[in-house]
Amino acid sequence: MDRIYLDNNATTIVDPRVKEAMEPFFCQQYGNPNSLHSFGTEIHPAMRLAMDRLYCGIGAGDQDDIIINSCASEGNNHVLKGIYFDLIRQGPKKEIVTTQVEHPCVRNSCAFLETLGAKVTYMPVNADGIVDPDTLRRHIDPDRTALVSVMWANNETGLVFPIRELAEVCREKGVLFHTDAVQAIGKLAVDVGRVPVDFLTFSAHKFHGPKGIGGLFIRKGLKLTPLLHGGEQMGGKRAGTVNVPYLVGMGVAMQLAVENLDYEERAVRRLRDRLEDAILAVPDTMVVGNRELRTPNTILASFRGIEGEAMIWDLNTNGVAASTGSACASESLEPNPTFVAMCISDELAHTGIRFSLSRFSTEDEIERAALAIAHSAARLRAISSSYDKGK
């Protein structure tokens, strides 16, 4: 049975072209780029090319920094903790404004900084599942707010935040703005030349690059205390030998992501919409968020009367990989904070299933997935104590 991978918001397949580009940097060109001898220096052209691709991919200028790090969790920690050391600890700006639906790496970093004296405001999302500029405006106090951090697109729902407008509000108020763009790169146009963000984070494995490498954009002239202290790598802003093969891979992945944006917007969206239509054709189902307001690849669906873990178990048995935010499927059994913040009913918090496509998803896969979903829903509803047909 050919398995169908519909969990691309968790991670993606590495594009074979990315893997190929990485290949020479394991056994042939393995020098440390900080070495002065030829083994080190021969790496530099490939690194420069990779950096060019990253800068070009997000529209960064030569005077901006893109710090290469291990993942978006690291980048987000770097921004939040850097701001703590640079601003909050000194006062009087002691506040971080963020949302209730951020990824755990932002939420838990904020919670940690609260224990050190930072004040954190978690903005609610509106009926559309996003934060609008007026809400942000109300929550900012230029005398007290050190940083605003809002994700570009939500990992669970795919809902896209109005990042340009939010960044402009911050610019106007003179407050620093960070966005976690992990779910945006490769799905939406991300251009820091047009969107005045100060910090932006991304991770290669969400756009068909390898796991374990990411980037942090820092607008020119901004200071950010390092998270990792050590050698002079990344201009002293992030110590640790650069993961050369992965940087090369991330560069190619970024270029491919940008080249495929149009395909993503048309073809992936079309497949996503087809799957969504098939899901909605199953009685008593719903999908969270207007599809026009979402990344082109994401569906968060709810099947009434079916608990999420049971559903993904059944789908997995039938070769379809999806994910659930159901508390019963997490190691801790804690409810998913995003679902709680979205004010979605308690039932949805236990029934939500996320399907996320990629440019590698095929028409045939989507057809088969749609059948498997309908089959699982029917089987589990037949055993469900809380689903009666026609109710």
Binding site: S326, C328, A329, E331, E347, H350, S384, S386
Partner: protein, 321 residues
């Protein structure tokens, strides 16, 4: 466990093959209709437990022979995760063929054990024990429906840990008998708190009437009190603390000495008790006729000291002030 904990995503790997099999193909899923029950000459019992909002709900159907109270057929429906489906299936299976009273003895642990592939390996991970294994509660509910009684009347005692089904009395006993000092020890001895951990302390998955931390604290406090009382009442004077010694001395004085002194119009009071190097110094002040009495530093003093030594301990020395 550390090495195994670092990778994560191991939830499903902790399910036994039997759990997986029953998640995929539950044998006793479905309903029993009035007609089917009637055809068996049985009474239909339907019981619901849990709530969708909590993530797990189960409905149990029994066809019970009214003459023998025997459960002829059992089926279930479940809104729940895979483990809830598998454990409900096993619960239905275990109840079949038993009388209602026998079924009431089925525990969640028994359901879990029946789902194991081998004796040593748990069928489901500990955190899933509580919320997904609801056998005992729904059976109790079904039995109460069948008997037409209140569910609470079927509970033989207060259950502190639903997962391992350990009662309040057992936990208190184990703490006392084994002189347990930590919650971890209670878990080691009884398995209470080893699974969903709701009963360890407030703030877990579920609100409980009793938490192990409180039971431990209260039982230890009661034990401490009893120990003090026992000490106070014990014959061994040297084991008593200062206050208890004072009491014992006053008691001996009241019973044996003060009446004799009073016959001569005198008395005494204890001013201080000082312990040093194995002796207990009792500092007294004579009152009434005893004051200035010539015998008070000689014969009477000797009498008092001998009597206290005889009654309480040889280590006592009486010092008049």
């Amino acid at each position: 466990m550390a090495k195994n904990d670092l990778i994560g995503g191991a939830l499903w790997e902790q399910y036994s093959a039997k759990v997986g099999e029953r998640m995929n193909n539950p044998r006793h899923r479905g309903e029993i209709s009035e007609e089917e029950a009637k055809a068996l000459g049985a009474r239909l019992v339907v019981a619901d437990w849990g709530a969708e909002a909590c993530g797990d709900a189960v409905r149990l159907y029994w066809a019970v022979d009214p003459a023998t109270d025997r459960i002829l057929l059992a089926k279930f429906k479940s809104f729940g995760c895979g483990t809830a489906i598998a454990s409900s299936d096993m619960m239905a299976e275990l109840s079949m063929g038993k009388t209602v009273d026998e079924a009431l003895k089925i525990t969640n642990i028994e359901v879990e054990h029946s789902l194991r592939d081998n004796d040593e390996t748990p069928a489901i991970p500990p955190q899933k024990m509580h919320c997904s294994v609801m056998a005992y509660d729904v059976i109790k509910k079904a039995a109460s429906v069948y008997k037409g009684v209140d569910m609470a009347s079927l509970a033989e005692e207060e259950i502190v840990c639903e997962c391992a089904r350990v009662g309040l009395r057992t936990i208190r006993e184990v703490i006392r008998i084994n002189d347990l000092k930590t919650v971890e020890e209670i878990t080691q001895y009884t398995k209470a708190g080893a699974f969903c951990k709701s009963c360890l302390r407030p703030g877990g998955h579920e609100k409980r009437n009793y938490y192990l931390v409180d039971i431990l604290r209260d039982t230890r406090a009661a034990m401490e009190q009893e120990k003090l009382f026992a000490q106070a009442d014990a014959g061994d004077f040297s084991a008593k603390n200062l206050i208890q010694k004072h009491r014992a001395i006053e008691k001996a004085l009241d019973e044996k000495i003060r009446p004799a002194l009073a016959a001569d119009g005198g008395s005494l009071e204890v001013v201080d008790i000082r312990e040093s190097e194995g002796t207990v110094g009792v500092y007294i002040r004579y009152l009434g006729a005893c004051r200035g009495c010539i015998s008070s530093t000689k014969g009477t003093l000797q009498f008092i000291e001998n009597l206290l030594r005889q009654e309480l301990a040889d280590s006592i020395r009486v010092i008049p002030l």
